[in-house]
Amino acid sequence: MAFLRAIFSHPSGRIGGTIVLVYLVIALLGVFGVTPHNPLQQFRIDRLHGPSMKYLMGTDLFGRDVASRLMTAIGQSFLVAFASVAIASIFGTILGLTAAWFGRLWDGLVMRIMDVLLAFPAILLALLIIAIAGPGSFTSIAAIAIVYTPIFTRVVRGPALSIKGREFVDAARTFGSSRRYILTRHLLLNLVAPLTVQVTLALAWSLLTEAGLSFLGLGTQPPAASLGLMLADSRNMMETAPWLLIFPAVAIMISILGFNLLGDALRDIFDPKTRSRPA
């Protein structure tokens, strides 16, 4: 509770937090199909209908309701984003933590493998993985997870190394505390802050990557809706039906903005340096 209060008393936390909450509600509604219309139903007479009271964001070439499709698309994108970030953060944390703790050969091996993965631009690595496993939502999740695992590994390893050198870990060693106790109670517990920030920012990136992949036709497959697909479909009609471009574009921008703002706020809240201090 104190944590939520801290977020909402931070200016960008307030905006970011609100955006994320609203999107979460929309995503849930979209996932469970609570939308104004059936997103797959084609209202043939109302093809390429502009925004109106009946179709809040208009209809597309097949007469499908854009608002409903947008809601399911957001649900779909959020599913992919949350799943991939969950996987990446778990693997990244395990790898980074053990690399920092055991050091030596294991550290060298893990970090060199991460260097190899980081030598590919994110989208290229994702493309490569999709080429292997074939396009689809599950591949997108796997691809994005693999792309972001090295980032989590690095984000965990750095602070873990510095915490490992702190005196409370030395103290724990003098008591003879078990490795498991030190790793979980001393290291992991103190990594919660940087991890929370990173998870938030990674959600923004993975939304971005997912949209890019489905824009190329390699993510979610039609007729299911996804933000990238909707944008790709809008390309040839942007002059006659700009709402097909504007609404998904703005939806994707604001969702990423929300996570970025929230991530910034969390960083400020966790960072002792930015708290006001007397000179």
Partner: protein
């Protein structure tokens, strides 16, 4: 010296890892290579023809041998033959690369020329309206996917001014610089916007960090005016993270901006990779990915060199 030496030593190691990863990954693509290459026509082949083809491409041998052959070729500058283009892979890559390089350079120019001054400016007037403005724009820039920026730019130009960006045949810089720049300016702005946003954000926060350092207070205690403090003391230190971010982003751009090239119909490296992957052109994918990773690592090495030039703590080793 040890820092640079270490970096130089990991370079071939990581490249080796990249080459193995790429090689293995490609061979994990489902379906056999000949079918992937020839599509439906493969069904017309007799088993003997199939075997001959396999022998011709060397894919009938154990994977380690294949890898060895390929690696040997790489050292000789031979990345193999592209099946869809029927030409040497390296030649195709080098044909496409100038566009990608130009686009990356233009975007970085925009990012540095706009982002850096904006970030410094914002840092020197924190909590004022101008700082807030820079931060909001940078935040939006960082939150907008490149292809969305590109689509919106195209839409704004066509709806607002009735201009449709020329989508025609691409003109290389060497043929007609003006026409080339006309074609490149929109994609460069598209990529430069997000790039500038991250440069602005990082230079602002680095500048703020540095301005609260003890040595800045020392400089002020000597009577250094604000501008002197910013340019001579803060900037050289604040540049270090800016160089890192710019290097990483530039390195990624050298890999080709797949989506932006797609939107603006530019025949760059990104689209080459995309096509190669979609059409299962093994040799081309391998070649491209290796080339891109190599470029990325070279840029990273250059960033390290820049570090060494900027920061004597790295040059001379900490605490010597």
């Amino acid at each position: 010296m040890t820092y640079l030496a270490k970096r130089l030593l990991t370079f071939p190691l990581v490249m080796l890892g990249v080459s193995i990863l790429v090689f293995v990954a490609i061979r994990m693509v489902p379906g056999d290579a000949i079918t992937a290459m020839l599509g439906t026509e493969a069904g017309l082949l007799t088993p003997a023809q199939r075997q001959a083809l396999a022998a011709y491409f060397g894919i009938d041998q154990p994977i380690l041998v294949q890898y060895g052959h390929w690696l040997l070729g790489v050292f000789k500058g031979d990345l193999g033959i592209s099946v869809i283009h029927g030409k040497p892979v390296l030649g195709i890559i080098l044909e496409r690369f100038p566009l990608t390089l130009e686009l990356a350079l233009l975007s970085m120019m925009i990012a540095i020329l706009v982002g850096l001054p904006a970030g410094i400016f914002a840092a020197t007037r924190t909590e004022k309206l101008s700082d807030l403005g820079v931060r909001i724009i940078a935040m939006i820039g960082q939150s907008t996917p490149n292809f969305v920026t590109g689509l919106l730019l195209i839409y704004a130009l066509s709806a607002g001014f009735g201009i449709l960006p020329t989508m025609g045949e691409f003109t290389p810089l060497t043929v007609d610089p003006l026409k080339n720049l006309g074609q490149m300016i929109l994609p460069a702005i598209t990529l430069g916007f997000a790039f500038a946003a991250s440069v602005a954000r990082i230079s602002r926060s680095a500048m703020l960090d540095v301005l609260s350092e003890d040595y800045v207070r020392t400089a002020r205690s000597r009577g250094a005016p604000k501008r002197w403090v910013i340019w001579r003391h803060a900037l050289p230190n604040a540049l270090i993270p800016v160089v890192t971010i710019s290097g990483v982003e530039f390195g990624y751009l050298l890999g080709g901006a797949v989506l932006v090239e797609q939107i603006f119909a530019l025949p760059g490296l990104g689209r080459l990779v995309l096509e190669a992957i979609l059409q299962r052109d093994y040799a081309l994918v391998q070649g491209c990915v290796l080339f891109i990773a190599f470029n990325f690592m070279v840029v990273n090495l250059l960033v390290d060199l820049a570090y060494v030039a900027l920061d004597p703590r790295i040059r001379l080793g900490e605490g010597s």
